[in-house]
């Protein structure tokens, strides 16, 4: 069953520009004919440069914004027409905004969400206890939210969006501002959540680490249009045009640039090469240098997903 179904979705923002008596309406097409299907239990990343339309898309799917035209269903409901009903089935986390009371403890906010989401008390208690353990927040659950670190607050934010056991969780830049350890922990938790509860994860992020760690599918959006929609693993294979090769020789060796092979760095025992895969057959090249030189060690490195995505943005 499809968790999300979108067809020909458009969103146009109208802004006033100019001074009081010379106002002009400026129209910005934030989304252009977006069509997308997401299966239940799928983990999907929606990425793109700033202003690409990612947040607009997530806000339409969660019922916050109305589209200009087009069709969308989330858990079988039209988000902007059935906002309240849909709220029971989805969870949302906006990395740059908080849904917890800044002044009260996280537990106080959770108790309020028990009432708002109309959860039976016993069910709520069991679920909260489980989430407290999973997210390891026992130590600070009773502290005012304003005194929590960003990483601690984000864990509480995610718990507040999971209390009603949503079918889909929408995360808009959930790891923004977190340190490396906090990011890794959060990704582990989300991965477990998907495995344990089959919760569909819909994520937007500028952090390619989030995408690689969490999402089996990546949709790249630019200027309001979907430019790429494929498996995250395939994305690298399709768009990798260069590879780096580190070679350590057993004895001093001279190595020169060749057609499609660029020497980036060298000394008498080591050389770092960059190969243009459109000009060089990687397998043949590797066989050739192994048979030609006396090699002590070889290390092959693919460009990072970040480099792949940067090159895609630049081309589009």
């Amino acid at each position: 069953m499809e968790a999300i179904h979108v067809r020909d979705l458009n969103k146009e923002f109208v802004f006033n520009e100019g001074k009081i008596f010379k106002k002009k309406n400026k129209k910005v097409q934030a989304l252009k004919n977006i069509s997308l299907d997401v299966k239940k239990g799928e983990t999907i990343a929606l990425i793109g440069p700033n202003g690409a339309g990612k947040s607009t898309m997530i806000k339409i799917l969660t019922g916050i914004l109305n589209p200009t035209n087009g069709i969308a269903t989330v858990c079988g409901l039209c988000p902007w027409e059935k906002r309240k009903e849909l709220a029971f089935k989805i969870g949302t986390v906006f990395g740059q905004r908080s849904q917890l009371s800044f002044h009260l403890s996280a537990r106080d906010s959770f108790v309020l969400y028990e009432k708002i989401y109309e959860i039976e008390h016993d069910v709520f208690q069991n679920r909260l206890n489980r989430l407290i353990k999973l997210f390891e927040i026992e130590e600070f659950i009773d502290q005012p939210v304003r005194k929590l670190s960003l990483g601690q607050r984000m864990r509480c934010e995610i718990i507040s969006s999971l209390l009603h056991n949503p079918e889909i969780i929408f995360l808009d830049e959930p790891t923004i501002g977190l340190d490396v350890v906090a990011k890794r922990n959060l990704r582990d938790i989300l991965r477990n959540l998907n495995k344990e509860f089959n919760t569909t994860i819909f994520l937007t992020s500028h952090d390619t680490g989030d995408i690689e760690a969490l999402c089996e599918r990546t949709v790249i959006i630019n200027e309001g249009e979907i430019v790429i929609d494929q498996k995250t693993l395939d994305l690298k294979q399709t768009y990798i045009k260069k590879k780096k090769l580190y070679v350590r020789f057993s004895k001093p060796t001279e190595f020169k640039n060749g057609d499609g092979v660029n020497v980036l760095d060298k000394n008498e025992f080591d050389v770092t090469l960059e190969m243009d895969l459109e000009k060089v057959n990687f397998k043949e090249f590797l066989e050739k240098i192994v048979s030609t030189y006396d090699i002590a060690d070889i290390n092959i490195e693919d460009p990072s997903l970040e480099e792949v995505i940067t090159s895609i943005y630049e081309k589009k």
Partner: protein, 263 residues
Amino acid sequence: MKRNNSFLKYISIGFWSVKEVFMYPANLLGRLAIYIIRILAFGWIYQSLFKINPSVSEITAVDAVWSLSFVQLVYQSSGHVFNEFQNDVKSGNIATQINKPYNFLYSKYAKLFISGIFKFIIFSIATVIVLIPVFGVPDITFTMILAVIILCLLGVMLNILVECCIGMLAFWIEETGPVYQVFSRLAWLFNGTFVPVAILPEWMKIFSLIYPLGIPFVVGRIFEDSFNTVFIIVILLLWIILFFVINNLMFKNANKRIAIHGG
């Protein structure tokens, strides 16, 4: 999952906001201190003015002090709530509230009204403790006390609705502060914040009844002989219904105008 009564949901939101109010007791005590200083200062000013003429427009100095405190009670319990909407719209925080399983507008009412009632109770107790020993008891019956409580609570409710209406303008004009300033300063002239309404000229008294930012504070006129409590309650209820409808229509339209960019 069991679906509870929506009314209970809004009550919970209201009590949660009360908890927020009591989270910073220093803020509340500060406001309380300023309120007491203000009514004492005005009380003493009225006392010296009424020494020249002991009964201006049928009311005494003690009545004037108490009527000022009633007006202040309504203001302290419901004033400046337009900021709630404006801040949510301008900061984009509305995004985290609008996609919850409740009516955003009613959740705001619940939050503001229930916390307003708590503030009203606290400020009323302080008023009684301070004003009785300093200025004495006004000429008031038990029925009038009941009327004061009803008029104050209806005033709080109406003022919240009116200020929410101004706050909601943020969907169209973003900065609603100037609008509030213009209307609230005008209201202060007619609602008895500085001058008891009883001593205002007749046309100003009529204006105070038809001015939506002045009418919530009509309780300040309770000591006038011509004050008809039932008639005033009906007028307040009509204003409440009118602003309830206006706000619903505005919010319905505003919903389509929500534009939250980035993040």
